[in-house]
Amino acid sequence: MPSRAFHDEPDLWEGPPEISPYPDRRAGKRLLARDVKTLSKEAENQKIPGYRDLFVIITDKGSAILNPESLEPTHAILDGEFTVDLKGGNSVEAQTVFTELKKSLKDYSLERVASVTDVPARQIERIAVEAATTAPLHIIFGASNYQWYHGDLKGRALALLVVLTGNIGKSGAGISTYAGQYKIRFNLKEWWSPKGGKLNWVPYLYFLNGKGSRYPKNGIKAMVGGWGNPFDQHNMANRLKNMALSGELEFILTTDIQMTTSCQWSDVVLPASTWYEKYDITATPAHPYLQLQQPAIKPMFESRSELWMVRELAKRIDPDFEKHFYPELDENDAALRVIETVLATGGPESEGITLEMLKKGPVRLHSTAPGDRQIPFYEQIHKRVPFPPVSYPAALDATAKFVKSGRIEFYKDEDLFLELGEQLPVHKETFLETEYKLDPDAKEKYRLRFVTRNSLYRVHSTHSNNVWLNELQGDMPKVFLNGDDARERGIGHGDYVEIYNGRGKTKSYAVIDPGARKGTLVFEQGWWARYLNNESYNSLTMPWIKPTHEVYFVPGIWSPNTCWNECLVDVRRAEL
C-alpha cells in the first residue's frame, strides 16, 4: 500500500464499522467504498484475502490485472504508480510498496554496497544471482546478525530476499532465526493455577532500569530465577549486584545445576538435578521431534527436580497449593503425569502423541504442512491465514499486533518507523547512533569492533566451569584478531592482552587469526567472570535500546534487545 500517501491524508483512515481493523486495509477499503471512482467491480468481488487491498489502489489503468486468474505475473499487481481520484474532486498519488522499494534500492548500487560492507562486488552479485535462481532458498540467521542496534533492519532486509524470490511456503525454502524458535512450546493452560491468572511480564532491562512499560508501581522486591546467570553474564550485572547489596532487591532465590555466580549472590540456592537425572520432554529449534528425557542415574548429592522444589515451596506457601503438583506421587511419577497432561492439551503440534510413544523414541511433531513437514509460513501462503505464524512461546495475538495488515509488511506504516525513515529496510551506519553518539572520540580511541561469538566448548555460559572443556581450551580465554591489527599494536600470538573501552576491560590471550576481519576483535562469549579475574567481557558491552525494539514487545522473543555486538574496544598488551 502507498502508506505514505494515506498517512498524509488522515481523513482517509475513517471507515465504516464493518471494516478490517488493520490500518492499511481499512484505508484501502475506505477508498474502495467511497473514494475510487474508477474501480472495477471485479476488484470488489475478488475473493483472495491478502491481495484485496492491492487491488484497491489500481485504477482502470490496471484493470487487466483485476481478474484473479491473472495473478501469476505478480510484478503487474505489485508494481506501479497510480493517480487515485477521490470523490471530493481531489486526487492522491499512490504507488505500490514494491515500486517504492525498487526506487529505494536505486541508492544501493553494487559498488556502494561493496564499499559499505567490504564484501567484494563480485561476491555480492554471485549471492544475489544464486538467491534469485536457486530453489529452494532458505536463509537461517542467528544472533551475530541481529544483535546489533539496527539488527531489525538486517532481519527485514534478509526477509526481503526470500520473499522477493518466491521462497516462502515451499519445502526447504523460507527464513528462520536460530535463536530459541522452538518447534513447540506447550500450552500450559490446563495445568495453570489459579485459573485465569495472568502474568505481568516486564522486559529484563526495564527490571534493571527500575522503569518502563508494565513495570509494577511498587517495584520488584524478590528475584526467583534459574538456568541463567545474570549476576555474571548480563552487561548490567553490576546494577543487579548493587540492587542486591543495597537491599533494593530483598530476596534472591536461584535454582541451577551448577554453582554459578548468580547462585553465589543468592539468599537461597536450590540445587537442580540435570537432564540425566529426571523426566522431561524436550524439543529444539533444530529438528521437529519431541523427545522424552529419561533419568539415567539418580540425582546426585542434594539435587532434586524443579517439580519437586516447586511442590515443596507451594506447600509451604499454602498447603492447599500442593494439590496442583500430584502430592501423592514421587517426583518422577508426578513429572510423567504432568507430561501426559501437557501432551494431551499442549496444542495441535502434539495432538495424538502419547507418553508411551515417546518412551519408544522421538516422535515427529505435527504441522499444518503435508506430511508434517516443517515449512515456514506454509499456512500463510497456501491457506491464506494472516501473517504472522505463531512464534512460540508467545500467543499469536501478542505477535500479530506487530503485523497489523496480516500480510508480510515490507513497508512499516507506523509513526516511529516513518520518523526514523525506516518504512522500508535501509542501511544505517553502525555505531553512529550508539558509540559515536555517546562519545564522539570513540572512533579514534576504540578502533576495533568487539564481536562475541559462541564457544565450541560451552552452551553459551553453561559448562563455563567444566574442567575438561576448559582444558580443551588450554584453560585460557582467547581473543581472535587480524594479523595487521595485532602487528599495529605490537601483539604476538599467545600474548596476554587487555581489551578495553570507556565502560570496562577484560584480559585474555591473543590468537592471530587469518580469518578475522581487519578491525574486528572476536571474543568467545560465556566465560564466567571468575575466569577473567572478575573482569567480565560484558563490562565492555552496552545494553542499547533502539526505539523500534520497544515497538515489538513479547518477553523473551521480541523485546528491547541487548545489542551485544554494537560495541567498540581497543586492545593492548598486558602484564600477567
Binding site: 561476491q123 582444558e471 587469526d513
Partner: protein, 229 residues
C-alpha cells in the same frame, strides 16, 4: 587376528567428542588426555591454517606392531597382547618414563601426583572420581583401574575392558560423525581392511617403522569446492 582401527579424516569434524568420551570412560584425571585432536597447519582450533586445507587429526596410541615403547620398558610393564593391543600393567610400571621418550606419537601420559589430589585441586568434591568404576585385568595383569597410582604411565588401552564385553571403544561410540571403525586387520574382508584398501589408508610416521594398527583415510572434503570469491 590383529585388532586395528581406521579413522576417516573425511568425516572428522573436529568436535573432540572422542577426546571427552575417552576421558570420561577411562577416568583420566585433569590434565591427562589419552586421545587428542589436532588441527594441522594451525596453532589453534577454529583458526584456519595459513596454508592448505583445514582438517582435523585425532591421535591416540597407534598400537604399533613394532612398538618402541615395549622395547624400552625395563620391567615388561608395557607389552603387546596376542591381538596387537599395547597395554600397560599398572602394577609393574616403575615410572621411569622411557616409554614416553620412545613413543614418536607423544601419546603417553604420566601421573605426577595422586589423581584424587589432581581432581580436588581442579575443583571436584573431595574423593569424587569418574569413569569405568572397576579394575580390569587382562591375563591377570592390571591394565585398567579407575584411580591410578601416582608415578605410573598411562595411555589408550583400546578400551580392552569393553572389548571383552563385545562393545566398541568409547571414542568409536562417542563419535557423532561415525568417523571411527574397528576390526581385524588380518581379515581382508573386514570393514577396516576394505576401507584401508579402497580409500588409500595410511599410517602416521611410517618412516619410523613402528607399523601402527591405526590407519587414517585422507580427507577429501573441500578439495572439490571451487569457491573463487
Amino acid at each position: 587376528m590383529r585388532r586395528g582401527w581406521v579413522i576417516d579424516l573425511e568425516k572428522c569434524i573436529g568436535c573432540r567428542s572422542c577426546m571427552v568420551a575417552c576421558k570420561q570412560h577411562n577416568g583420566q584425571p585433569p590434565g591427562t588426555w589419552w586421545n587428542r585432536v589436532f588441527t594441522p597447519g594451525s596453532r589453534e582450533n577454529q583458526v584456519a591454517p595459513e596454508k592448505g586445507k583445514e582438517y582435523f587429526l585425532p591421535v591416540t596410541c597407534q598400537h604399533c606392531a613394532n612398538p618402541p615403547c615395549v622395547k624400552v620398558c625395563p620391567v615388561d610393564a608395557t607389552y603387546s597382547t596376542e591381538d596387537g593391543t599395547v597395554l600397560i600393567d599398572f602394577e609393574r610400571c616403575i615410572g621411569c618414563r622411557y616409554c614416553i621418550s620412545a613413543c614418536p606419537y607423544g601419546v603417553r601420559q604420566f601421573n605426577w601426583e595422586e589423581p584424587k589430589k589432581t581432581l580436588y585441586k581442579a575443583g571436584y568434591v573431595e574423593n569424587y572420581t569418574y569413569g569405568y568404576p572397576k579394575d580390569f585385568r587382562k591375563d591377570g595383569r592390571l591394565v585398567y583401574m579407575p584411580v591410578r597410582f601416582k608415578g605410573i604411565t598411562e595411555k589408550c588401552h583400546f578400551c580392552v575392558h569393553y572389548y571383552e564385553e563385545g562393545l566398541e571403544p568409547a571414542c568409536v561410540r562417542g563419535c557423532p560423525g561415525g568417523a571411527r571403525f574397528t576390526g581385524d586387520l588380518d581379515d581382508p574382508e573386514s570393514v577396516v581392511s576394505k576401507l584401508i584398501r579402497d580409500r588409500d589408508g595410511f599410517n602416521l610416521l611410517p618412516e619410523k617403522g613402528t607399523k601402527p594398527s591405526c590407519y587414517y583415510l585422507p580427507p577429501r572434503r573441500k578439495e572439490n569446492l571451487s569457491y573463487d570469491f
